[in-house]
């Protein structure tokens, strides 16, 4: 290498003998991970470790998040936003300067289209939910439902990206990465940000990318299946693995030092420490055998089942129980999802897939006392049009003007409905909540001022909410 090294530790040892002793102490095997990095970095360990636990801006009840993302665009007027006037005015022609119909052949005229599902009030609070979510309907007393969500884009890619990163066009760090960056992780033996998804969404890996934030904050993808996380069983005795890891860390650290602290290389160095811990932590975290029948049935999970949203929900509980900061559960991928252009009836199996598991998750968290420190967020990328180009059209189109999301758990006001759409569910008219506002609120619930959680990149401070965002105080307990 021609470049000068800025790492002189190895050559500053006074004698060969002393150096050998030092090396031996490093590699001797008595030193078990995860202490290696602390050892090597000395006093700088905390500064070096991007995942060290950090306090938020102000005390908050929520310590971790489970973020439930329904991909494709869930129809609000068929699920959480009852619209009697839409039923009454079914078939009536309306005018709307809507992004999905502009200049679109066959869409010169549009007509209101009613929901085919009944709504009824539930719980003490009386929040109305459609028959698509019979189990979740029983949990409304825990939920702060926002019926006035709106977003900035009507394309799947952009809206999905926006919901995850606050940017509707460019790659930016995802909300989970921001949380990991802001809070660090309680459990060095597990990734701080885990995404459990059977397939990729429309925005692919950008949904959990750390982008310019240090790579340790990137989401680790877990695909449901018999081996959700591969290679967690060590093939060699632990003392030997520790010795090898110490030597590897020493080599890699020197390599990193020669390369000006390339963040990617640094992330890689750090990832071995997490990986080492995962060998113990992962099998234990994913071991659902120890869950009793009552718990499994709460989620609607068959014993031995290793896929499905019920499995994802139960694993999510176990992960946050073990200190993972941010768990995102994605229900489907970029096909066969909630994108019901063709027929609203495709919402039936999708709702069934998540209804009991989510209700089970809320109940399980509550009975364990975990709901007091876990924030649960349910959302989608946009809603669906309350109209179509014929009233009999069986599907609905993308609708960025209005949709429903909900929050539950730590710091959230229980059993309320915030905001409203107009009588037909076309626009969020009362107390509209933009995606940026939802992000600001989530950050607030986690103890952050969304304007102060920033990262300097390419000459400016970036934040999740860009230059937008308003905390929705009405949903705070």
């Amino acid at each position: 290498m021609t470049a000068p090294t800025n790492h002189a530790a190895w050559t500053s040892e006074p004698s060969a003998f002393a150096r050998r002793a030092f090396l031996r102490s490093t590699v001797a095997g008595s030193l078990l991970m995860p202490g290696i990095l602390s050892q090597l970095h000395g006093d700088d360990a905390a500064a070096f470790d991007p995942l060290a636990v950090k306090p938020p801006h102000f005390p908050a009840k929520a310590k971790q998040i489970i973020f439930l993302f329904m991909t494709g665009g869930v129809s609000h007027v068929d699920t959480f936003d009852p619209k009697p006037a839409l039923t009454r005015d079914h078939g009536k022609e309306i005018k709307a300067d809507h992004p999905e119909i502009k200049n679109r052949p066959g869409y010169e005229r549009i007509f209101l289209k009613r929901s085919q599902w009944e709504f009824a009030p539930h719980g003490q609070c009386g929040t109305e939910v459609s028959t698509l979510f019979p189990n979740l309907a029983k949990c409304v007393d825990e939920i702060a439902l926002i019926r006035s969500m709106h977003t900035s884009h009507s394309n799947h890619y952009n809206a999905t990206l926006g919901m995850h990163t606050g940017s509707f066009a460019f790659s930016r760090p995802s909300i989970g990465s921001w949380m990991s960056y802001g809070l660090g992780t309680h459990n060095a033996n597990l990734p701080g940000f885990v995404v459990i998804a059977p397939q990729q969404t429309y925005a692919g890996t950008q949904v959990y990318a750390s982008d310019f934030l240090p790579g340790s904050h990137q989401g680790t993808l877990v695909v449901p299946g018999e081996t959700p996380v591969a290679n967690v069983v060590s093939r060699i005795p632990m003392p030997q693995q520790s010795r090898e890891l110490a030597a590897l860390t020493a080599l890699n650290r020197r390599h990193l030092g020669d390369r000006g602290g390339d963040p990617l290389l640094e992330t890689r160095l750090r990832s071995f420490e997490t990986a080492f811990g995962m060998q113990m932590a992962v099998p234990e975290a994913f071991e659902l055998e120890r869950e009793d029948e009552a718990t499994l049935s709460l989620y609607g999970l068959q014993r031995g089942q290793t896929t499905g949203f019920s499995w994802q929900c139960l694993v999510a509980r176990r992960l946050v129980e073990r200190g993972v900061r941010f768990v995102e559960l994605i229900d489907t991928g970029s096909s066969n999802n909630w994108d019901a252009h063709g027929d609203m009836k495709t919402h039936v199996p999708l709702a069934k897939n998540v209804d009991q598991p989510i209700a089970g998750l809320l109940r399980d968290l509550k009975r364990r006392g975990m709901l007091d420190e876990t924030l649960v967020v349910w959302t989608t990328e946009f809603g669906r049009t309350p109209f179509n180009n014929t009233a009999d059209a069986p599907g609905r189109e993308h609708h960025p003007w209005a949709f429903s999301s909900w929050l539950a758990g730590a710091g959230v006001r229980k059993g309320i409905v915030h905001g409203a759409t107009d009588e037909h569910g076309l626009r969020a008219v009362e107390q509209p909540v933009h995606v940026h506002d939802l992000h600001a609120t989530i950050l607030h619930l986690m103890g952050f001022d969304h304007e102060r959680l920033t990262f300097r990149h390419a000459g400016r401070d970036y934040r999740l909410t860009d230059v937008h965002g308003r905390v929705v105080r009405e949903v705070l307990a």
Binding site: T2, L23, R104, P105, A230, V233, Q240, L256, G261, R268
Partner: protein, 792 residues
Amino acid sequence: MSGQRLAATRLQWWGSLPRRRCAATVLVAAAALFARPAVAAATDAAAEAVFEKEVRPLLVNRCFKCHAGEKAGGGLSLETRDGWAAGGESGPAIVPGDAEASLLMQAVRGDALVWRMPPEDTGPPLSADEIAVLARWVADGAFDPRVATASIGGMSEVEAQSWWAFAPLAATDPLGGPERIDALLNAHIAEAGLPVAEAADERTFLRRATYDLTGLPPTAAEVDAFAADLSSDKTLRLIDRLLASPDYGVRYGRHWLDLVRYADTAGENTDRPLPHAWRYRNWVINALNADTPYDEFVRLQLAGDLVRAGEPREALNEGIVATGYLAIARRFGHDIQKDRHLTYEDVIDNLGKTFLGLTTGCARCHDHKYDPVSNADYYALCGILESTRFAFPGCEPQGQPRDLVPLVSAEEIAAAREAWEQHKATYEAAVAAQAATAEAGAGELGDLLPSQPGPEPVFPLAYAVVDAEPTDVPIQLRGDPEQLGEVVPRRWLDVFGGEKVAAEAGSGRAELAEWILAEPLAARVIVNRLWQWHFGRGLVATANDFGSRGEPPSHPELLDWLAARFLAEGGRLKPMHRLIMQTQAYRRSSLTRQAAVEADPDNRLLARFTRRRLSAEELQDTLLAVTDRLDRSAGEAHPFPPESTWKFTQHGPFEAVYPTTRRSVYVMRPRQRQHPFFALFDGADPNASTPRRETTTVPTQALYFLNDRFFHEQAEALAARLTAEYPPPPVGGSLAATRIHQAFSLALQRAATNEEIELLSVLVEDTAVDEVAAWTGLARVVLASSEFLHVD
């Protein structure tokens, strides 16, 4: 648009550079096309504010009910300036600057001579304030920015015609060497005041270039030879050696397979194997090794069967196999015939992105929202695909594969079949006759029998396409195949002229290829990819999107120069590699101070080289190479279960991982269940075009280096190699040091430092099991090191 434009810009895929020399001046000066329209003057801004805030809402709310849309009342449309200027049955509605003379004002004021507007049955008269707003607006000149522009998809025709990516290549002399490229790059670096990294050392350069062109590390012998070579043209000779290596096609073929989302399964609900798709994969690799001119490379993939029709069998077969590009399109759903509109979308999306950097697939359900691709354009292309018979991979309700294309002539097949059947018949007759004789109690068995016939002859097949009955297809409203609109003739995209497929021309695939190749866009897109493959980032960072949502080029003049040069080189890639790899920019070190990195985090200006992680394929191939277990032979068919045994269902889909020690481009890549190794290390998505590999760094990758079986096996093999090649007792010097040097030489292409030898000797000494176990531990450390995994 149309014919004229095409004539001016149609690309010529010229032959050699000298012939091109005189053609250089032919290129039309197009620099002006890069310039943006002038910004509106400040006075316009004020007038525009008035119009937007006061006038437009008034027109929309009070007039549009009748004077807008197709049936504008009285023939008057107030939707655009042209609308009111032309006026309706009573003449122009507005005389700019003269409110009194304007019919519009007379009408809203209810002057006696014209109809009062709005009519009484439609709404109340305008208020005095509203009338005053209109009067002031008209008196001030009736500023109205609403132009009735014809648009194509999501762009106005005007904008589309001047879109930088579609414009003719800037006039430029395509001559010159690597210094031309450096000059263009260095100007931007100097402008930004960035410090330029020094040249990388020889070993780093050798490693970089070797991985870049072959996906493998240099061997120890190559390192030594390069170091010992003192000649001045050693770099060029190195590049030429690498370009001539068959491993070049493996590496660059993989780049292409990423783009065309190559897979070995169909992707429908049962994810059936495609036992013949490998021929296309190998064709790509061979075509790149042969440096097939890019125009031919594209033409064959879209219409090889047509353009090679009538040629000798070998040439024809090449053409047939190349159309595997179309055949490998993803299949969808349960009954793939019913969902073939989704397969067409997959093809249209892919060919738009791959060849033109255009997201054409977006136009299936509606006009493209941002780029000039209309819904009708989409169905014009769809007709070409509907006029093509795709090899059918089978699916759960439709049974086994069919419509594969034989690679021998029908006559040969018929002749071979006939011969076989005759043989069989003769044999059976003989058997029967003998049996009869035997029954009659006479004669010996076996003596006079002809040889037993073999199994029915099989012929090599290609997973490919051929022309079907030509047909135009109707628009599927909102992408719904059940709701049909107007039939669209098969033709090229409107924005590029919209030329129709001639009546006698067949499907139109051959025309499609020529239309694509005629666009300057096609040349820009491929040279941009080439640049990205060398530097990690394209001059256009969004290599699959040159449309309005993509990023503009960082160095537009360089992009056009490269495109012009590429044409001058006859569309051959190898001379371009040679040129780019000789630049100073390519030689720069990646070791820079953090400050320089922060000044240009994405390294757009290339003041340094971008360090990269090995791709999944490079990692696996290197692990096999350093242990000398890499099988360099080309893979062919995968060991799929025989077709006759297939009973795949959506609940029991095909699923397999076939280990191999060949180059990993030959690994079987399924669509539905990503191969776990490639999924872990950011391999290409076999369901969508992958223009650029992402690099994630996650603990699950670290777990691979800790515990993966294959990784451990390679470490064991390396240890075995070290201990076998350097058995004790040592002949002078330290045995441990010798072996550590050897491990470094194989894995990292350099000698170990004294510190490294000390550190690793301690590791080996302390692993007090047995010798091989100790050296296996060392091998694991070296093979898991960041230096092993990254290219500087």
